[in-house]
């Protein structure tokens, strides 16, 4: 278990050992992928608690489905399971009308009593920890676009891998990233985070 990640990390070997029921081998994979997976779930669900659950569920589901893994990219396969877990959670939230899609846990329930309570200190701290304005902008994207931009820009997957994770074509990946970035840009501009380059440019020119 104390194997350090990196040079010794032989993914294919660990996967095949895990397939044979070697839980310790599988847990080395868990150790390797838990941070990106948790962060992916966190961006998708906007709640550390829900992200924890989804991550754990994803690893358990992956272990149980390991014998159905047919080669290819293990990371993409694993991410896809986590993404499914996230979509399940989002669906559950939608089924419970009282909980809006993307409101963080801490805010739930109170919004009914007070129309606009404003963020608490704790929530502001949490938002800052998650990345401030850009975090808010990403959170406001529809799930498909958010997933595309998170996989691409936050997780650094290439288009083909993203297509694999999302189960869509390359063209769809491109257009989702396109639309996501365009919306992000708009909200960053609106929040004043991004100073329009034409103004920067023109003021610099003159």
């Amino acid at each position: 278990m104390s194997l350090t990640l990196g040079a010794d990390f032989d993914e294919a070997d660990l996967v095949s050992r895990g397939t044979q029921g070697d839980l310790d081998a599988f847990n080395l994979l868990v150790e390797h992928y838990q941070q990106p997976l948790f962060n992916l779930c966190l961006r998708m669900l906007n709640s550390p608690e829900a992200a924890e659950d989804a991550t754990q569920d994803a690893f358990i589901a992956a272990y149980r489905a390991l014998n159905r893994f047919r080669g290819g990219g293990f990371r993409a396969w694993l991410f896809r399971i986590a993404v499914n877990a996230c979509y399940d959670e989002l669906r559950r939230r939608r089924a419970r009308p009282a909980h809006s899609l993307d409101v963080p846990h801490g805010e739930r329930g109170r919004t009914l009593d007070v129309p606009n309570p404003g963020p608490t200190l704790e929530e502001m701290a949490q938002t800052a920890e998650l990345g401030g304005v850009i975090h808010e902008a990403v959170s406001a994207l529809p799930p498909d676009q958010r997933l595309a931009v998170v996989l691409c820009d936050v997780q650094g997957l290439d288009y083909a891998e993203i297509a694999e994770v999302m189960g869509v074509s390359l063209g769809t990946v491109k257009s989702r990233i396109n639309r996501a970035r365009s919306r992000l840009r708009t909200s960053l501009l609106q929040s004043g985070e991004l100073f329009p380059s034409r103004f920067r440019q023109s003021s610099g020119d003159r």
């Binding site: 924890e52 272990y63 850009i134 936050v154 288009y159 440019q201």
Partner: protein, 317 residues
């Protein structure tokens, strides 16, 4: 117009360009365009700034280790079995379990009446009255479409029950009697789900069981197939409750258990007078009709439950 569409196409290429994912030909074309088009250059700058901001999103440390433990695998099994389905799916499951029980009771009535229910009257009476009582319950829960012969009822639940894994409920099996028949061995391991519980119950309860004490479903089954007929009314009620309650232990909180006691109580409390009149009306043909309706509804419900299960199984990879 031509310029506009070309312009739009170039704009769409900006994002892959930033990622270095644009084909060389397109890259050359885009760069040529950028040299001539200032709005597009601004657009590119904004885009680059946006992507840079997104890339700066912090990666948080994991709050704990997500290593999978054997306990989690066990717990997960329990969660999978628990009724986390949608209200509709849940309703279908409860309804099919309840229907299966009701059908079983009706079939008993039919059997004991058609196959000379050893004159002690109570057999046919109680079953008949129960069928009346509980048909209302079933009608509330399920859709009604009669389609099959009454005989098809018994094979159908058993067959579907077999599709489900025999999970966790092997505890039921040890009580299998010395003379296990085909249907007994098929039905008992299949008791794993509430639906399968219903199936198991329906296969099991037609057996009029002489011993009132916690009759295991397998025993009941073999009695049925050997054509045994006893004084059965109250005993079957207990048999139902037992087989489902036992199931509940292993799957944790099946709503079927909530239904079962109701049925059992109806069974026990059935007033003799009402029961008597029920039989006197026109015994067998009424029962047949009820059986057909029940069996049809049960089949429809089971198909619905099976569809829901396969749907969810596929979604969870």
């Amino acid at each position: 117009m031509l310029w506009l569409s070309k312009h739009a196409r170039h704009r769409n290429n900006l994002s892959p360009y930033v990622d270095g994912r644009l084909a060389p030909v397109d890259t050359a074309a885009l760069e040529a365009h950028l040299g001539a088009c200032q709005p597009c250059r601004y657009e590119l700058e904004d885009l680059r700034a946006t992507v840079a901001a997104a890339r700066e999103l912090p990666q948080l440390e994991t709050p704990r280790s997500f290593a999978v433990t054997p306990q989690m695998l066990e717990r997960r099994r329990a969660i999978d079995l628990a009724p986390s389905a949608s209200p509709l799916a849940l309703g279908m499951r409860i309804a099919s379990a309840a229907l299966a029980v009701v059908l079983a009771v009706v079939v008993i009535g039919d059997f004991s009446e058609g196959g000379n229910g050893i004159g002690d009257g109570g057999v046919g009476l109680e079953s008949a009255s129960e069928s009346r009582d509980t048909t209302e319950l079933a009608a509330g829960a399920g859709s009604e479409q009669a389609s099959d012969e009454p005989d098809a009822a018994a094979p159908a639940p058993t067959g579907i029950g077999e599709q489900y894994d025999a999970r966790a409920t092997d505890e039921d099996a040890p009580s299998t009697p010395a003379m296990p028949t085909q249907s007994a061995s098929a039905a008992c391991p299949a008791v794993g789900d509430q639906m399968a519980a219903g199936a198991g119950a329906s296969a099991a309860t037609p057996a009029p069981n002489a011993t009132r004490q916690l009759a295991p479903s397998a025993t009941a089954n073999s009695n049925l197939n050997s054509g045994g007929a006893g004084a059965a009314g109250p005993a079957t009620g207990i048999c139902d409750e037992k087989s489902i309650a036992g199931n509940e232990d292993s799957t944790s909180a099946t709503p079927a258990a909530a239904e079962a006691p109701t049925v059992a109580i109806t069974d026990d409390d059935a007033p003799d007078a009402a029961a008597l009149s029920a039989r006197d009306d026109d015994g067998i043909s009424t029962l047949r009709v009820i059986e057909i309706v029940l069996a049809g509804s049960l089949i429809v419900l089971l198909v619905g439950v099976a569809a829901d299960l396969s749907l969810r199984r596929r979604r969870s990879i």
